[in-house]
Symmetry: C2
Subunit: 192 residues, 2 copies
DNA sequence: GCCGTTCTGGACAGGTCGGTCCAGATTGGT
DNA sequence: ACCAATCTGGACCGACCTGTCCAGAACGGC
């Protein structure tokens, strides 16, 4: 009935995720988005509407991917304490393995956009809730198998652990050496 | 010998701090800096050199102010645990009292600029070290007066506490209700 | 009152920004 | 072979960006 699209939406979206992750929303130009996706301006705008809409789609895609990775981790048969350590170090591994040592796209978006766009805010909050729920599941597993102490509720601990790992990412942006960050993870685990 | 400046450098700098805190480095235009400081373009560039130099000065000024506030807090005669709670809630009070619920300028700068500018990176790292040292002092006080347990070293705990309060600020950007954040502070204190 | 020096207002330059628009290309259905 | 519908390349728009420049203003010292 009509001319078909000559590119794959999700492939283009993946490239946009990387751009926004690199430079944030404001500092990513539509020219750069065209370059990295390989799309012309018209195709980009025809497919995604606006830079802001594309940003929202990028955040949702990133969040869905992360949620999948979390499910994979939960399928592990490690005990609760070991799995919790894995969860925390996996986040930091990803950051320290990145050339620019980028913080999680979600943190970047929280800081840059925050609550100024309700739809984006909700996407960020949903992702944060998902992550906290996952951490809570891990802690609960540890409390049941005895590898973690059970004096404080898993949901409460998850909120603290989530905040701590986000803060460690911020710290990793400016630290030269990873050792203090890993040390903080061990200190955190020693408290549980 | 020459025409004197018709404005106060530090007053202008204070206005620049607020601009950069509002919008970050990239999204703050030099026009906006002229408007908020009341300076003309020539005066702004004559006094501060470039937008990047002004940004660095703004960060240093903000850090110095924060360091002063920390010294004031340390002069309190609260016991360690109560003072630690005050330190953490003061940070969050400031954020939740702000209309845009801005995260600390240092966090913003870490996320936006990171290590891409060595001079700025050092300023951010110095401030983070100062803050951790202060938290460490507070924890040590608590361990000496018995209000906090002494099983983990104060420096180690300070790193965790610093990360947690930074993470809670990120969370505060998108949460609608402050209660979960305060609850996390209490959970954190319950672990010590 | 004049001089050397610094400051100031505003115009200007050269580039980039997000977004629109349209003519022409490309398809599936008939 | 033709149509309706969608996609695509690239020109284009008006706004905004950082930084420069210069003519003239405003001072302290003499």
């Amino acid at each position: 009935m009509a001319r078909p699209r000559s590119f794959d939406d999700d492939t283009a979206l993946a490239a946009a995720v990387d751009d926004f992750w690199d430079s944030g929303f404001g500092a990513t130009s539509t020219d750069e988005l065209c370059r990295s996706t390989g799309l012309s301006r018209s195709s980009l705008y025809n497919a995604f509407g606006s830079k802001r809409d594309l940003y929202l789609r990028a955040i949702l895609r990133y969040a869905a991917e992360k949620q999948g990775q979390r499910a994979d981790l939960l399928a592990s048969d490690l005990d609760g304490r070991a799995l919790l350590r894995t969860v925390l170090t996996t986040v930091l591994d990803e950051q320290w393995g990145d050339d620019d040592r980028r913080t999680c796209l979600m943190i970047n978006a929280c800081v840059e956009v925050g609550s100024s766009d309700e739809e984006i805010r909700r996407a960020l909050a949903d992702n944060a809730d998902d992550f906290r729920r996952m951490i809570s599941d891990v802690v609960r597993r540890g409390q049941l198998d005895g590898s973690l102490t059970g004096t404080v509720g898993a949901d409460q601990l998850a909120a603290v652990l989530h905040a701590a790992v986000d803060g460690l990412q911020v710290r990793s942006r400016i630290d030269r050496d990873r050792e203090p960050v890993d040390h903080a993870v061990e200190t955190l685990l020693a408290l549980l």
